[in-house]
Amino acid sequence: MSTDPVSPVGALVDALVENRCTVHGPMSAEDGAARVVELALERAGSAAIALPLRDPAVVWLELESRLGAADARLLHPDDPGWRHGLPNAAVGVTGCVVAVAATGNFAIAAGPGCPRATSLVPPAHVCVIRTGDVVATFADAITRVASAPLPSALSWIGGPSRTSDLEMRTTFGVHGPKTVDTVLVDG
């Protein structure tokens, strides 16, 4: 695992770890795809894996066929049972559009086939971060997302859901995922 703080990817790794994400990689697309499958199966157990089929990372790493080959129970946004099934899914798998090295936050754009809830409702989230999408600062990331029409929802995630409302000590998993695995993939 690279922790060279000079490169944006190295800085991102450090920031994600600080934000309580589990970091995997950076690694090749082949290894990254295998790692995502492994993580999703491990987190899911016998429950379903929420997989947005048209998410660019899911398409790129051919996750549908790989997970299908591993006999995983998949839940797709196009399934009529998506809305009712999602609260019982154990893990959501997504990519992201940009990641900020300085802060360890990454952004997921909603769109057709890419629901807002995939990275939010299940108790675990596995996110693929393409190293080509890593930028140095939040300002760089905002400039980048502002260069194209904004999606209906752009969700920025820093790590597991957390609260400080109990005597100002941090606890995790209050509403969103309790664990966030980030898989950094060269590309």
């Binding site: 809830a117 939010l120 752009l154 820093g158 109990l166 100002m168 209050v174």
Partner: protein, 510 residues
């Protein structure tokens, strides 16, 4: 719905006493200590970011009407419905109308000071709509039938044991006195509400005029659930939340989150541009934006306009020596702490919180902490003067004290008395009371260096007699109103001026 009174009393003075006498509250407030230096660190390390943010906020206020028009057009182009609410009553009516039309049974709410300001939760409940706060701190406050005491950490006034007891009493569940146990329980409990709610009500941290994007900052993810699951989303947005450009959030968001909680960015940021689009399977079918005025635009063009630059980070509360001792409920107002002391009388046109500007030591810690450089201490002084006179506090853009504040380079500048015009000594239309005469005399004497020196000498002489051997005087006859709740320290045996002169003359070295 009636609310439990946490710190009883009819005036700020009485409530402050109740708060200080409450050992559990004092214990809970210690948890705020970790935020004491947060704002100072941000100011030290990110001064340039602070200056840019302050400039962006002023840019909006100089032409708020145009930016609101622009924001409205952008929101509508993105498919949102925009409602203008001049008063809190209008805001409540708009939301209740939507709830009725959409046959809403349950509303989930994400923490929002604007909805507290218009008392929306109670209005929904009164109309038979179940309203559930989903921020953990707000939920705790709601089931305790109380009010939030801090705008960032609403349940800061409660200890873990008290929180657990409140949740057990409301649910009948067996909940451990354990942070993780309470968190897990809250997740299960509130998830049920998210899944059945037809409508979500949120606030907004910013509204970008060029894109019509609503920005919501949370750590828990309740803001995301609110803007993902229910089919109707209503955002209650005070008019000053507008920022000119979407890209301005690159400056404002890190500053807000660093100052509010010390985080580089909060865990979640939601940037919402219109409702769900064709082909999307979640997100609200309808997005309504309620632009709340509530006497805000009346402040434009007055010295109080500065208050509209506020980004609700809570930094001024965290550093305030008064807030840190009495907590939010002592203010008996939606907004507490230094910003609340300014905003409460302004939003109510002087009808509420008239004694709040007096509840300050004018130490200026709030001014120093403010990430958008609002001169809070100056505004408090100005309000004290304006509130002494009858009539509306701010007329139709014709305030009584509207001369611009002088440039402020060090603490004390910009205070009216710095220019030799102590506000309490202004003679115009004042009743001739002993108190007024006393303050006048004091101001006149201290305006002259010789008078100041003589008064010190006199105090030292009298001090020996009145104070005896004690270091502090309490209950000095004729001054009880002051000394009952304040220590009056014994003057030093020699003044600084005397010691300095001796040093200059080479009579002593230090």
């Amino acid at each position: 719905m009636s609310h439990h009174v946490v710190t009883p009393g009819d005036t700020f003075d009485e409530r402050a006493r109740s708060a200080i006498a409450d050992p559990e509250l004092q214990r809970a407030l210690h948890n705020l200590d970790q935020r004491l230096f947060t704002a100072r660190e941000v100011a030290r390390r990110h001064g340039e970011l602070k200056d840019r943010a302050a400039a962006i906020r002023r840019e909006v206020l100089t032409d708020l009407d145009s930016w609101l028009g622009r924001a409205t057009r952008s929101l509508e182009a993105a498919g949102a419905t925009v409602h203008r609410a001049p008063t809190p009553e209008d805001a409540r009516r708009v939301v209740l109308d939507i709830a009725r039309r959409e046959d809403v049974a349950t509303v989930v709410k994400s923490k929002s000071m604007a909805t507290e300001e218009v008392d929306l939760g109670d209005a929904l409940e009164a109309a038979g709509v179940r309203s559930v706060e989903t921020d953990l701190g707000e939920y705790i406050v709601q089931v305790a039938a109380e009010r939030p005491s801090h705008m960032i950490t609403p349940a800061i006034h409660k200890t873990l044991g008290q929180i657990r007891d409140v949740l057990v009493a409301s649910s009948g569940d067996d909940i451990p006195v354990d942070r993780d146990g309470i968190t897990d329980w809250a997740r299960r409990r509130l998830r049920t509400d998210f899944l059945v709610a037809d409508m979500a009500v949120t606030g907004a941290n910013f509204l970008a005029a060029d894109t019509g994007t609503i920005v919501l900052v949370t750590n828990e993810g309740n803001g995301r659930l609110c803007t993902t699951l229910p089919r109707v989303h209503v955002a209650m947005v005070p008019v000053e939340k507008v920022v000119p450009r979407f890209t301005d959030v690159a400056t404002l968001l890190p500053l807000l989150t660093m100052t509010a909680t010390g985080q580089r960015l909060t865990n979640y940021l939601s940037m919402i541009t219109g409702p769900r689009r064709d082909g999307e399977v979640d997100g609200p079918e309808q997005l309504h934006v309620v632009l709340l005025d509530h006497n805000r635009t009346a402040l434009l063009g007055t010295a109080y306009e500065e208050m509209l630059a506020c980004i609700r980070c809570g930094a001024c509360l965290n550093v305030c020596p008064v807030y840190r001792k009495v907590s939010g409920h002592a203010y008996d107002a939606v907004y507490s702490g230094p910003m609340g002391k300014v905003l409460t009388p302004l939003l109510s046109q002087g009808a509420e919180g008239g004694d709040l500007p007096g509840a300050s030591t004018l130490c200026g810690a709030c001014t120093d902490a403010c990430p958008v450089e609002i001169p809070l201490a100056d505004l408090l002084v100005r309000l004290r003067a304006d509130l002494r006179e009858a009539g509306p506090l701010v007329g139709a853009r014709a305030p009584r004290t509207n001369e611009p504040l002088p440039p402020r380079t060090h603490p004390g500048d910009g205070f009216p008395w710095a220019a030799g015009r102590a506000p309490l000594a202004t003679p115009a239309r004042r009743r001739l009371t002993a108190r007024a005469v006393g303050f006048d005399a004091w101001a006149r004497v201290w305006a002259m260096p010789k008078g100041y020196r003589m008064s010190n000498t006199l105090a030292r002489m009298l001090g020996r007699v009145l104070w005896g051997d004690d270091r502090y005087a309490v209950n000095v006859t004729g001054m009880r109103g002051w000394t009952r709740s304040r220590d009056l320290p014994l003057p030093a045996p020699r003044s600084f001026r005397d010691r300095w002169r001796a040093r200059e003359l080479g009579l002593e070295r230090w």
